[in-house]
């Protein structure tokens, strides 16, 4: 059984490799595991550190492809945003039927890369066109949550990004849990796109989680565990979103609630019925919830809940991004670096595409009012 769930993310090696990992327990004997991941960077530093680290043995030089792609990248830099999104378009050409998920870190307002507004905007346009589903993560939001967690724990001595990366990892672990474990109500990745993307361009999902685990928490120190209802409220609250937005002020087009642990459908429905009156939902979809339950809780916690929402408030994030871009672009600052590699019209086009997306999101609440919908007349059997 371990083999089944492991094989979605790892490949079991042939035993000849010298590196072994503690994860590959198989009948008391260590089997070498290889992560099904492609690690890409244009400079050596980060990757060589990763390969040297504790889990370095998990990564192999050459890998097989399987079904579904996860792109983990940032939009601020060059490689992740440029090459990463280029890979997306290549994958779309090569494997058109296979799902492309992107987990994209959006730069914060005080990003240390001066050209990040350009990078982010250009990458965003690519994500808009070539990804099936994007989970935006905002550095600032991750930072806030990580600081809060560490404050609760009394300081930590990790590297600066450890806490933030751990949050992203928790998100991914939770999202992929149903593929790895059994549950009474399994939710595949392709179910997420089917249910949460009502219109093809609006595929940016706001993710929120509760509870978060501090990066270095041992399973023996789970902390104070909130009740299910507290957890439910927290997962949809502003503070626990991985993007800095106001979800309650936006309109929910669709929302997936994915629970792990000992949670029943009734619990989720109870949570929904309590929360629904406080949310704005699309009039054509008055109960926009997709439920999932995976019986296995995350390590060290009795249960956790992930909410993925297609909420119109992410438009505000794009608006902020576009403003920062426009500030530079108006004066053509740094533009010459880009014109070396791409025509200036493409940058203009990207700006247009993003403006259009922002417009899509901002007009959404007014778009489909119930009164505008044609009310069907009952046909009856008179025509028979």
């Amino acid at each position: 059984m371990a083999d089944d769930s492991l094989s979605s993310f790892f490949e079991v090696g042939d035993g000849k490799s010298s590196v072994t990992s503690g994860l590959g327990l198989h009948g008391g004997q260590h089997m070498p595991l290889k992560a099904r991941a492609i690690v890409v960077d244009m400079e050596e530093g980060v990757i060589s550190e990763m390969l040297k680290g504790k889990l370095g043995g998990l990564f192999e030089q050459q890998q097989m492809l399987s079904d579904g792609f996860f792109l983990l990248h940032s939009l601020g830099g060059g490689t992740g945003s440029g090459l990463g999104t280029y890979l997306l378009s290549m994958l779309q050409d090569e494997f058109p039927g296979i799902l492309r998920f992107a987990c994209s870190v959006f730069p914060s307002d005080d990003d240390d890369v001066v050209t990040s507004p350009y990078n982010a905007l250009l990458a965003l346009q690519q994500l808009l066109e070539h990804a099936d589903c994007v989970l935006p993560l905002e550095n600032q939001a991750l930072q806030d949550i990580a600081t809060r967690l560490e404050a609760g724990k009394g300081g930590s001595a990790g590297r600066p990004f450890d806490g933030m990366n751990s949050l992203a990892a928790q998100l991914l672990l939770h999202l992929t849990a149903p593929m790895r474990f059994e549950g009474p109500l399994n939710v595949d990745l392709n179910e997420i796109t089917t249910n949460l993307v009502p219109f093809p361009r609006r595929h940016f999902l706001l993710s929120g989680m509760a509870p978060f685990q501090p990066p270095s928490a041992r399973p023996s120190h789970p902390g104070i565990m909130p009740s299910f209802d507290q957890m439910f409220g927290a997962a949809l609250s502003r503070d626990n979103q991985l993007v800095r937005v106001q979800p309650k002020q936006g309109m929910y087009l669709a929302c997936a609630l994915l629970a792990r642990g000992n949670v029943s459908v009734g619990d989720l429905n109870r949570g929904i019925s309590r929360l629904l009156p406080t949310l704005q939902v699309a009039p054509w979809n008055p109960e926009p919830f997709k439920l999932g339950i995976c019986a296995t809780p995350p390590a060290g916690l009795p249960m956790s809940l992930l909410s993925l929402a297609n909420n119109s408030c992410v438009g505000a994030t794009f608006e902020r991004m576009h403003e920062r871009f426009a500030k530079l672009y108006r004066r053509r600052v740094f533009l010459h670096h880009y014109v070396q590699y791409m025509p200036a019209e493409d940058i203009q086009a990207a700006s247009h595409a993003v403006t259009e997306l922002i417009h899509d999101y901002s007009t959404l609440p007014r778009c489909y009012l119930a009164s505008d919908l044609p009310q069907p007349k009952p046909l009856g059997l008179s025509f028979l």
């Binding site: 089944d4 079904d67 579904g68 059994e182 009474p184 109500l185 399994n186 595949d188 990745l189 392709n190 179910e191 796109t193 089917t194 249910n195 949460l196 993307v197 009502p198 219109f199 093809p200 087009l253 669709a254 029943s264 459908v265 009734g266 619990d267 429905n269 929904i272 019925s273 699309a282 009039p283 054509w284 979809n285 008055p286 109960e287 926009p288 919830f289 997709k290 439920l291 778009c367 489909y368 119930a370 919908l373 044609p374 069907p376 009952p378 046909l379 009856g380 059997l381």
Partner: protein, 439 residues
């Protein structure tokens, strides 16, 4: 007489597993002769291999899912189980249908239907006398509903004279799946064309039953499946028609429903629903059970608690402003337990329960074998107006979603056009109107 069960998708496989567990348990309590008859319907006896091997029978079932986990779990027999699924009667694929009906129907349908038909053929040929095929699925998902619809059409072509009874789990109103209104209407459109009868079981009704009747405060999906298993078994286990003829599956069951091509939807109600701990402390009497069951029919309720006792059937000719009661086109009443043949079923023979043009609406099936440890129990499979209520709700949901053209691109990607979707909505509308006109 044997029945082959086809379990489709995550929901269908979980329900099927519950059904066979329930049957194996119930059959083990029956007397030898009755047990042999019942076993013949659902199981194939096998010789035990080796000492301590408790598996004595194999379920006559085919398991289909587009992902592996649920089927893999079902194929591992539980500790101490007396039955197992036959080896090699399952079909699984790597990735599911993603709640997309169009993907199940248009992508997996052409690829895998022939394989499923082959598995069903093998299972049907293993039966001495095939009574029909029972299919279990949900209406909302992708594999059970979309691929299921393709499989049913393939099977209908392959086995034109075999009877198909479909048990379809209807989703909660506040959705497990957001696109469920599209999926359910598409499913319904295709199933009504290819199945002889469709039993709709609403998750919300099952959930309430678990909470109120079975004293389960936080019902899980296996609890809900247990209620379905109880209901299905109550009508499918062997029984004799009043008058002495054996009720033959499924022709007897579907024949009793009238099998009118315009009225394929049916509902299944049973009494009593009791927590197993209180069965021993309950006293049973036929008049009380049947009175409650009759009121459930008149009010279109699934559960015997909270019944509206003020509703009374009015004679057909009499027109008043009183809200008309729930009318049935036809009904099959099954009584199991002591003195079943002596029970007075006159309340169900009341012509005002049925449309005036219906000649022989009621069939009564009897069995003296106690069911589900209850001294007496009764179930009613009927084609009545309440069956179309969930369809009406789903239709209005789908109409407004369709007006916003939401999610349509997901279906178009697999070849289902806006017109096809509109046709499904219209088909649901027609169904709702037809059932309305029974009144």
């Amino acid at each position: 007489m044997s029945l082959v069960t086809l379990q489709l998708g995550q929901c269908g496989n979980q329900v099927g597993n519950s059904l066979f567990n329930f049957l194996a348990d119930d059959i083990s309590r029956q007397g030898t002769t009755a047990a042999e008859d019942s076993q013949e319907v659902f199981f194939r006896p096998i010789c035990a291999k080796g000492p301590g091997h408790g598996i004595r029978q194999q379920a006559r079932a085919v398991l289909v899912d587009m992902e592996q986990k649920v089927v893999a779990a079902a194929l591992r027999p539980a500790r101490g189980a007396s039955w197992a699924y036959p080896p090699g009667s399952s079909l699984t694929q790597q990735s599911g249908s993603g709640n997309n009906w169009a993907r199940g129907y248009f992508e997996y349908g052409p690829k895998h239907t022939a394989d499923v038909i082959e598995l069903v053929r093998r299972e049907t040929e293993a039966a001495d006398y095939l009574g029909g095929i029972l299919t279990l699925q949900s209406a909302a998902g992708g594999t059970g509903s979309g691929f299921g619809a393709a499989v049913m059409e393939g099977l209908r072509d392959e086995l034109p004279s075999t009877l198909f009874l479909n048990h379809c789990v209807w989703p909660f109103d506040s959705g497990e799946v957001i696109v469920q209104s599209y999926n359910t209407l598409l499913t319904l459109q295709h199933l009504t064309a290819s199945c002889d009868a469709i039993i709709l079981a609403e998750n919300s009704a099952l959930h309430r039953t678990c909470q109120r009747m079975l004293n389960i405060p936080r019902p899980s999906l296996p609890d809900l499946n247990g209620v379905i298993a109880h209901d299905l078994a109550s009508v499918l286990l062997p029984a004799k028609l009043r008058g002495g003829r054996q009720l033959s599956l499924l022709s007897g069951v579907i024949g009793a429903l009238g099998a009118h091509p315009a009225y394929r939807l049916a509902s299944l109600q049973s009494v009593p629903q009791l927590p197993s701990s209180s069965v021993d402390f309950t006293s049973f009497a036929w008049p009380g059970l049947l009175k409650r069951l009759r009121q459930m029919l008149i009010t279109g309720a699934y559960m015997e608690e909270g019944l509206d006792w003020s509703a009374t059937p009015l004679p057909n000719e009499q027109h008043t402003w009183q809200r008309p009661h729930n009318k049935a086109l036809s009904a099959l009443l099954t009584l199991r337990g002591s003195q079943a043949s002596a029970a007075d079923t006159g309340g169900f023979a009341d012509p005002s329960l049925y449309p005036s043009w219906q000649v022989q609406p009621l069939s009564v099936a009897l069995s003296s074998v106690p069911f589900a440890r209850c001294e007496m129990s009764a179930s009613l499979l009927s084609c009545n107006q309440a069956c179309a209520r969930p369809v009406a709700r789903m239709r209005s949901r789908a109409t407004s979603m369709l007006a916003a053209k939401a999610y349509i691109h997901q279906y178009e990607a697999f070849g289902l056009s806006l017109q096809d979707m509109q046709a499904a909505v219209n088909c649901a509308e027609e169904t709702v109107c037809r059932y309305d006109q029974l009144g």
